[in-house]
């Protein structure tokens, strides 16, 4: 059943291409219907999933001579991310409701992207996984290059090149795996169970594959594609890019690199500075990413770049959580994948759709005097909630994820955990700064609404307060050019906010599928008795 998430999305893309050119509304509705259908399957399966075991969905030989199979399966981690993809897919379409330029192609590429993302999360044959992973790059490139803004060709090309470099590294790793295992298969469960790679092999294969995937996860210093790509992309594409595609990288790191080559994380025989294993190296890079991303976000004047760099910072948490190699840390990393997927989508939706499409600027100093908190209060409220959730306020998904990662990191790398604390504080400041500058700066330019001007005055007998005319707050607002927030936008924002709060208040919803997955035989090598 779960496999249908992939087929339905591809089918939707095909049907969209066959639609007549003029029918933009029809294209939107069709896209939404197919996205909802895919998500519905994802959601029902997620809530039906009880056992915690890896379950196979489809298994047929594909290229028998090479032992390649068409193997779709899922465990708790895949399910969590499939659920995320489903939710982001629906909201992405809701936030793209205003696309007028080549609408049907836009949604066709969109559904193609969604379908292949489902494919990556469900593939347990490494070759199949790689195929889906490569398909993702194509719609991603066109979505940015055709519908993007600000230096879109540059952004699209940079993103595509980085992705291809990462893929090339992964491919080399996979071929080496195929040859070295001698099992004539690329099925992940079989490789984990039966292949005994030598420690020397794992020691170079692990970093190769890990970095290959981590490029897409925004690992510092290979993150530079991310901010430019996010900024250039149209809203729905930035939502998918930050919300889902970056998770593909993190998922690949965990699912392929770490599961296949656990010994690659073992200590080296010698120390290099204070680093003694690949684990230390990547944890350090992750922490640098957290702090660097936050500090760069602090000084951006382009609103979308703030969010772009915040994604780099938040993805650092995921990579750090993976490197803790304890159950709390890795569970936290998976929850952070989900949480950041939801929140980054929401933030990009606010910035790209709600603000940029109305004001046609993303420059924070220019946005300030527009007094957006009065003009589009819903956008301001959404950004406040999303920002708070992102900075790790309790009650939202970000807090649970960061708390678990922090606890895990403290056990594994106490020194780095302190640096992460610093990153979190910078994170609070940049969200605050962006919120203040984008939505509330205009508010400070005029006198108090209650304090001096709007207070009722008494006259005559004083029993009948006389209200002064309301202050003209909107003098600076682009009145007349600013359509109100539409229903699809409201619906999308509410879906995402509710998801974040639900996970924040009841993280067990995700943990109950993640924990058994981490305790499954797939992760035996990684556990190594450590947790």
């Amino acid at each position: 059943m779960l496999a249908w998430t992939i087929y339905i999305s591809f089918l939707g893309a095909l049907i969209l291409l066959l639609l007549p050119k003029s029918s933009t509304t029809l294209a939107r509705v069709v896209a939404l219907v197919f996205a909802v259908a895919g998500s519905a399957i994802a959601i029902t399966t997620f809530f039906q999933y009880r056992t915690g075991e890896l379950f196979t969905i489809v298994r047929v030989p594909w290229v028998p001579t090479l032992g390649i199979e068409y193997l779709l399966a899922a465990d708790g981690i895949s399910l969590t991310l499939v659920l995320l993809t489903g939710i982001v897919a629906i909201t992405g379409i809701l936030f793209s409701w205003n696309i007028e330029h080549r609408t049907k192609e836009f949604f066709a590429f969109y559904l193609l992207l969604i379908g292949s993302v489902y494919g990556v999360f469900l593939s347990f044959d490494l070759f199949l996984l790689f195929v889906f992973y490569e398909i993702v790059i194509i719609p991603k490139y066109f979505l940015i290059a055709i519908w993007g803004s600000t230096r879109k060709e540059y952004g699209a090309m940079k993103l595509a090149l980085y992705s291809f470099i990462g893929s090339a590294m992964v491919l080399v790793g996979l071929i080496a795996t195929y040859v070295a295992s001698g099992l004539h298969t690329l099925s992940l469960p079989e490789l984990v169970a039966n292949a005994h790679f030598s420690p020397q092999f794992q020691m170079w294969a692990f970093p190769l594959v890990f970095v290959g995937f981590a490029i897409l996860a925004g690992l510092w210093p290979f993150h530079t594609w991310a901010p430019t790509g996010h900024v250039a992309a149209p809203t729905a594409a930035s939502m998918l890019l930050a919300g889902v595609v970056m998770k593909l990288g993190a998922y690949g790191c965990l699912r392929v690199a770490m599961t296949l080559f656990p010994l690659g994380l073992a200590p080296w025989s010698h120390h290099f500075l204070f680093l003694s294993s690949w684990r230390d190296v990547f944890a350090l890079l992750a922490v640098i990413g957290i702090v660097y991303g936050a500090m760069v976000a602090l000084v951006q004047s382009d609103f979308k770049f703030v969010i772009g760099y915040s994604s780099v910072s938040h993805m650092g948490f995921i990579l750090l959580g993976l490197m803790t190699l304890n159950q709390i840390g890795i569970s936290g990393a998976v929850i952070q994948m989900f949480s950041h997927g939801i929140l980054a989508s929401l933030l990009f939706a606010v910035v790209g759709r709600m603000v940029y499409d109305r004001t046609h600027t993303r420059d924070l100093p220019t946005l300030g005097p527009m007094n957006l908190n009065k003009v589009i209060p819903f956008a301001a409220a959404t950004f406040v909630v999303a920002g708070m959730a992102g900075m790790g306020l309790p009650g939202f998904s970000g807090f649970v994820a960061e708390l678990m990662i922090l606890i895990g990191a403290w056990r594994a790398f106490p020194g780095l955990a302190l640096c992460v604390g610093f990153g979190i504080i910078v994170g609070i400041v940049y969200v605050w700064r962006a919120m203040q500058k984008a939505f509330f700066a205009g508010d400070d330019l005029k006198p108090s609404p209650e304090g001096d001007s709007a207070q009722p005055r008494f006259e005559g007998d004083g029993l009948e307060p006389v209200h002064p005319t309301p202050a003209t707050n909107r003098a600076l607002a682009p009145e007349g050019h600013c359509p109100p927030i539409s229903s699809p936008e409201r619906l999308g924002a509410i879906i995402l906010i509710c998801t974040s709060i639900a996970i924040g208040l009841y993280p067990q919803m995700l943990l109950k599928v993640i924990t058994p997955a981490l305790n499954s035989p797939l992760f035996t090598g990684l556990r190594g008795g450590a947790w």
Binding site: P414, Q436, F440, S448, E450, D452, G462, P465, L511
Partner: protein, 516 residues
């Protein structure tokens, strides 16, 4: 299955907030719906008080469910006398804050929804018994408070709101780090269980043996963990020198929000002292008791002295709030001074402990009432509220002056009114325990008397300014709304047992916890 009363109580204002947001643009409906919900919460709290077993210090109306098993976090609720008292106070203060905000005309729905959300956070904070759960509400309460100041405040609201948020946030982060350290060692976030560990003197040794191996951590780790937790509460109450956010925030906030800040939110800090710091960290608190006592004395005396220098009524009572809560801090540190079961000291500690809790309630009630009167003055004077603007109001508004005078005298600590009993108990209990500190603090009492008499003189007596010839007296509606509060002040002043009966057992058990 027993009815989850506390969960219902916490969620009731949230439901109210949602419904308030859905009301139409008519401000009247919005206010009525919001007030109805706050009164419903008050009724529910009174109902709980009626079913509260006063003879035991056990946690009542308990709820406990597994919540995040991976982190050993339970959804655990319960109230003892202290918790119930705070619920009552919050439930009383919120309708007062709404009444004082009756004239808010801009974005009415959002304003009242935020007040209801804040109430929910207050209820959550006073009932949660697990750190993560409690911290969630503690932090979330900042958001409505921040926006109440930021969107409806006075001319300098923006810096005031930011300062308020940054101070509290820094305190919270320090506290979070401390509790994370404890969690890493004990794998436990439960206040009650941590307090038991502390009582058997196993908590800090476990923490030190687990975390002590990290050479970059300070040598006296236990003390630093305590100081981190202390910072969070010290900012909230506040303890001098962490108070500097307060005058700006209280002054710039719309008066309804000021009522919430001083009446209820400052009690979150004191509640934390009693529920968390004292039971879990008392050995560390004892280690730095002398400096803490000095800070408490400074809080009491300097804030009263600062109030003396102010002309703005809101600023005067902002500093006066710091002074009144300083007495509580003084008594808390006094109680922490001696452990051991010396019966003579136990009596003193018991008096002081009862005094603290009573003072928390009384200050909340009195301060809320005084700020309400200030809001009424502002409404009548088009926002003017400095001492120099007024004079002789007694002649044109006798009822107003009389009732506000009662509230002011209650704040001053006049016998027969509620403020007297609690301050008396605090001084009676603290004096034998920490004689020097209590003696110096008496200075604060005297300065407060000067401040309040000064206010009465400047506002109500003297020549009447021509601007205020038509200053309207209290309307019938306002009189009816104020009457129960004034009556409660008298009732508590004459019959403090009304509240004391709820907290006696809790005080006894807290003191027993500290005697080993």
């Amino acid at each position: 299955m027993p009815v989850p009363w506390l969960t219902i109580l916490t969620l009731l204002p949230v439901a109210g907030a949602v419904i308030v947001r859905l009301t139409g643009r008519n401000g009247r409906t919005t206010r009525a719906v919001a007030l109805a919900f706050s009164l419903a919460a008050l009724l529910l709290t009174l109902f709980l008080a009626g079913h509260f077993d006063k003879t035991t210090a056990a946690l009542q109306f308990p709820e406990r469910h597994a919540w995040i098993p991976a982190l050993n976090i339970d959804y655990r609720l319960g109230v003892d006398g202290l918790g119930l008292l705070m619920l009552l106070l919050s439930a009383i203060v919120v309708p007062i804050a709404m009444a004082a905000s009756w004239k808010i005309e801009s974005r009415t729905r959002l304003y009242f929804a935020l007040i209801l959300l804040l109430q929910s956070c207050l209820f959550g904070t006073f009932t949660a018994l697990n750190f993560v759960h409690w911290f969630t509400f503690w932090e979330l309460s900042l958001i409505p408070a921040f926006f109440l100041i930021k969107l409806w405040g006075g001319p300098k609201r923006s810096p005031a709101a930011t300062q308020f948020l940054v101070y509290t946030m820094v305190g919270s982060v320090a506290m979070l780090l401390s509790f994370l350290a404890i969690f890493l060692a004990t794998h436990n976030f439960d206040f009650i269980e941590l307090a038991q560990l502390a009582q058997t003197n196993t908590l800090m040794p476990v923490v030190i043996s687990t975390l002590g191996g990290y050479h970059f951590l300070p040598h006296n780790l236990a003390l630093f963990i305590f100081l981190g937790a202390l910072l969070g509460f010290a900012v909230k109450v506040p303890l001098i020198p962490f108070h500097t956010w307060l005058p700006a925030a209280y002054t710039e906030a719309p008066t309804g929000a000021t009522i919430l800040l001083t009446g209820a939110m400052s009690k979150m800090g004191l509640y934390g002292f009693l529920r968390i710091l004292l039971p879990i960290f008392f050995p560390q608190m004892q280690a730095v008791l002398t400096p803490l006592l000095w800070l408490a004395v400074a809080t009491v005396v300097l804030s009263a002295y600062a109030a003396l220098a102010q002309r703005d009524l809101k600023r005067i009572f902002a500093y006066s709030s710091i002074n009144h809560l300083g007495y509580c801090l003084l008594a808390i540190f006094a109680v922490a001074k001696f452990t051991g079961g010396d019966p003579g000291l136990t009596t003193q500690k018991f008096a002081a402990m009862n005094g603290i809790m009573l003072q928390m309630f009384n200050h909340g009630l009195t301060a809320a009432a005084i700020f309400w009167f200030i809001a009424l003055i502002e409404q009548r004077s088009n926002g003017l509220r400095t001492l120099d603007d007024f004079g002789g109001l007694r002649k044109v508004a006798p009822v107003f002056s009389g009732l506000m005078g009662i509230a002011l005298f209650s704040s001053l600590g006049l016998p027969g009114l509620n403020g007297f009993i609690s301050e008396f108990l605090i001084f009676k209990g603290s004096f034998p325990l920490v004689t020097w500190a209590t003696s110096i603090s008496v200075l604060g009492l005297m300065l407060t008397a000067v401040v309040i008499l000064g206010v009465i003189q400047n506002v109500f007596s003297g020549p009447l300014d021509s601007r205020w010839f038509t200053f309207p007296d209290l309307t019938t509606g306002e009189r009816l709304a104020l009457a129960p509060i004034i009556a409660l002040m008298f009732a508590l002043g004459l019959y403090p047992q009304l509240i004391l009966s709820f907290i006696n057992s809790t005080s006894t058990s807290l003191i027993q916890h500290l005697s080993f």
